[in-house]
Symmetry: C2
Subunit: 520 residues, 2 copies
């Protein structure tokens, strides 16, 4: 993609300029007056490539390509890139155009003992696409495999290559009147294969929340051969093969294709927002909604701080944004039922506008898409920005919300010497619990950002672990969430996963350090 | 459970008497005039137990107990039991009351090299609870672990022991106003642990069709330790541990507990039936319904032969039975939308009765619950009865229906020398395809039933395999579906599963022969 930032989120033309960086950080005290400059690619010091990949596989060793594949897009990635620290750059970036080239690369890598880190859109925020070992490594960028190969209109499914970015695959589905309708925040800059490998959370706030639910079959290149599951709407034949590769984060194989379940484009939509005094009645409403089998497409609860941050409301209230959609039937009745449930819990429904659009929802959505760019601008100002998300059952949701806010707030104050901002929204909800998403913003010190971020991250992970909440609802594990994941994962399952890993990747070259380590 | 049949389905008081057996077989020619007698337990010749289980684990070696744990409830099991062939009886039946006793049993079995076959309700129709090896073996009956241990009303979930039969767990949930609402045909005679181990299909015809979808967390005793996943409404942390044990059919561990997602008891229900000229418009209607996101709880399509067999219709038409339910909202509008879709495809909606019940649906349901007893009666008459089920995408559904009917019909005629009956219903449907369920009934020859059944089964499996349809949508794999499963399962996944199995069950004592064989 032209115009992609090598160091930060998205495209360069949408990055904050210096003045915008200063403005974004206006609420934080003690920061530098001007943002840290972005290094020019020509000035970067990249280590010399230590290996030569066989000519059968297209590769690039251009500095800009290696630099842009050194890290993902976590806060700590941006800070390291901005500081010009590219010591860990890949020795080469493989750019295959065919599955056969991926097979050839893995064969070579296994025999040469070279680590291979699969790279989709590079949007990982958990250290999933970098390498922390000592030896040479290849970043395997699959963006060249970006086609919709086949559409089955009758079964409403399509065979799509793993390297297709969100807009690229939607453009190819549109002429068929179909859509995958998987819209993570990273939609523009992440791929189908990446979504599958990380069990990404998408558009739907209820029911089909994860990409997992949209998979009909998968094709995965493992070091010992290609795994191709059958196209089946449902099967009870043993443990699901697809469910082993879903969430495997490039440690078991490279996802080259999948048959995905599609949707007709929605013809009917309705949305509304509801305000609540505080999170207690708001959570009660969201719980009632999640347990009523009405399946709103959108059901985002913003706590007062998140509502203020996003411009959805500055009144100190919570805002619940509800949206319903259907390709087949009008949805006004369903929205009315949802709003009844919200009112029963003490919510105040915002009057609908003449345009049928909801102002709070629009404000929130615009901030949502802009936020990663703001995060980068704040990073240039030496602010600390962290987002993390989790899920827990409803019986623990209020305690989790309070404990995380208090615990992470205290950690921020201890680490930075001043109070920070901790905001929360529910991104997805289930009959048995919500998926709360937290944003932390605080003033950092130039040069100390990474250490401060690490301390905040550790505090957040420990709070979640103590509460029995997952380390990740949809951001994946990567390298940054390993301590929390190692705690969450049952030990016999770890033993089984390690055995499966060793069997599929005997040389241990696939994304070492992610999810699980080989037997020692 | 008192009154359970040791040789056939369910309870002895509901078995067909001799005259009923004759009547059931009235349409088949060339059969014996009277049914084969049922052997008395006292007359059975059981091999002497070859092992002594440590006293820490409660066991039974009573002939009736060993006889009733020799087989599951497949047709071939019933025929073998009726013939008095109990050479393969377990050496002992373990009857633990606690998880610790299961741990002790597996420890002992691993050290002694004795095979252990987990047994829930014993309703397997795929050879999942027998043993086909030479050495001694234990049937591990978990029915003593049958309690609902904890109910979380707020999150609508309960912690339930794996040995609880359907009615036993529903009785314990009822005082809380909650229900698991998982009603497979075997509901009375199968357990939660069995449903989980086999990925059972249940009440809901759409959406949450398999028990998999209702699982919040699981506790599994493996030979190397207890695996306990966290209670989470959703997680994206690596491949799902629960999804590895779901469908593992007792080969990786024994499921002792699970937190299950529950439903409020439905307050609103509506049902109707629709007739179609033939399967082409009927399938079109079911496809439209499955893709409209209306999620009927019941959506059973009976082909003309199935409609006749069940008493739902003798007019030579197809019958589609639709049902909608909700705990929160009236459902009449939703049923009306479903019926509109059916009418659009040429269906004729049956007039609703004064009672609000649908006569075709009632007739079908009553036959559905009676059918396993009729099957046993037919087996006593030397008829061949087989049921198998599958799933495929919509683009292949019509071809599959025609090909299976023709292929299996021809096989029946070749094997038995006369045409048989092949009927079909769709038990569950998905946006991308249906799950067709076939019933085969034909006249057999006394003494040759098993060989004839095997030939029909093989023919059916080969037809499914050629069409790329799954060997099982919800009956599981066991030992009988191994050839089809071995074909369906991607080879790299087989390698990974074998490695996981070896890691969790190093002595290879858990349900040997099911799903996968150890590395040779």
């Amino acid at each position: 993609m032209t115009g992609r930032s090598w160091w930060g989120w998205g495209t360069t033309d949408r990055a904050l300029n210096d003045d915008e960086c200063v403005a974004a950080a206006a609420g934080l005290s003690g920061l530098p007056a001007r943002p840290r400059p972005v290094p020019a690619v020509a000035d970067l010091e990249l280590p010399l490539p230590r290996i030569a990949v066989p000519e059968s596989v297209p590769v690039s060793t251009a500095p800009a390509v290696r630099a842009s594949h050194t890290y993902g897009k976590a806060y700590r990635d941006v800070v390291r890139a901005l500081s010009g620290d590219l010591r860990a750059a890949p020795d080469a970036v493989a750019l295959p155009r065919t599955e056969a080239q991926i097979v050839a690369l893995l064969d070579w890598a296994a025999s040469a003992g070279v680590a291979v880190v699969p790279y989709g859109g590079g949007s990982s925020v958990v250290g999933g696409v970098e390498y922390r070992g000592e030896g040479p490594w290849i970043s395997l960028d699959v963006a060249g495999l970006d086609r919709v190969l086949e559409v089955d209109r009758v079964s409403r499914a399509a065979r799509i290559q793993g390297g297709a970015l969100g807009p690229v695959l939607e453009d190819q589905l549109r002429p068929h009147g179909l859509t995958l309708r998987h819209f993570p925040q990273s939609f523009e800059f992440s791929t189908l294969g990446g979504w599958l490998a990380t069990r990404a959370g998408g558009h739907y706030a209820t029911l089909h929340t994860h990409i997992d639910d949209l998979v009909e079959s998968m094709r995965v290149v493992t070091p010992i051969g290609v795994s191709a599951s059958w196209r089946l709407p449902g099967s009870g034949a043993g443990p699901s093969p697809d469910r082993m590769f879903l969430g495997s984060e490039g440690t078991l194989g490279v996802i080259t294709e999948a048959w995905m379940r599609l949707q007709d484009r929605p013809r009917f939509k309705a949305s509304a927002s509801v305000r609540f005094r505080d999170m207690t009645p708001a959570m009660a409403a969201v719980r009632a909604i999640s347990q009523a089998a009405l399946y709103p497409a959108n059901c985002r609860l913003l706590d007062p701080a998140e509502a203020a941050l996003s411009g959805a409301s500055s009144s100190g209230e919570c805002v619940l944004v509800l949206g319903v959609e259907s390709a087949a039937h009008p949805v006004d009745d369903r929205l009315a039922e949802l709003l009844d449930l919200a009112r029963d819990c003490g919510g105040t429904v915002a009057p609908s506008s003449d345009t049928g659009r909801d102002a709070a929802a629009d404000a929130w959505r615009s901030t949502f898409l802009r936020m990663p760019y703001v995060r980068d601008g704040l990073a240039r100002m030496s602010a600390i920005v962290e987002t993390f998300e989790t899920a827990c059952t409803w019986d623990r949701a209020e305690e989790l919300y309070a404990t995380v806010r208090a615990g992470v707030g205290a950690a921020v104050e201890e680490v930075t010497g001043a109070p920070g901002m901790v905001t929360c929204r529910f991104t997805h909800v289930y009959p048995d619990g919500p998926a709360p998403y937290f944003t932390v913003i605080a003033a950092g010190r130039p040069g100390a950002e990474l250490a401060m971020w690490d301390d905040v991250k550790t505090a957040a992970s420990e709070v979640l672990g103590r509460l029995g909440a997952t380390i990740t609802h949809h951001h994946a594990v990567g390298r940054d969430h390993r301590p929390g994941y190692d705690r969450q994962r049952p030990e016999p399952f770890a033993v089984a996963l390690r055995a499966a890993k060793s069997a599929l990747d005997p040389a241990g070259v696939l994304n070492p350090g992610v999810l699980i380590d080989p037997a020692s």
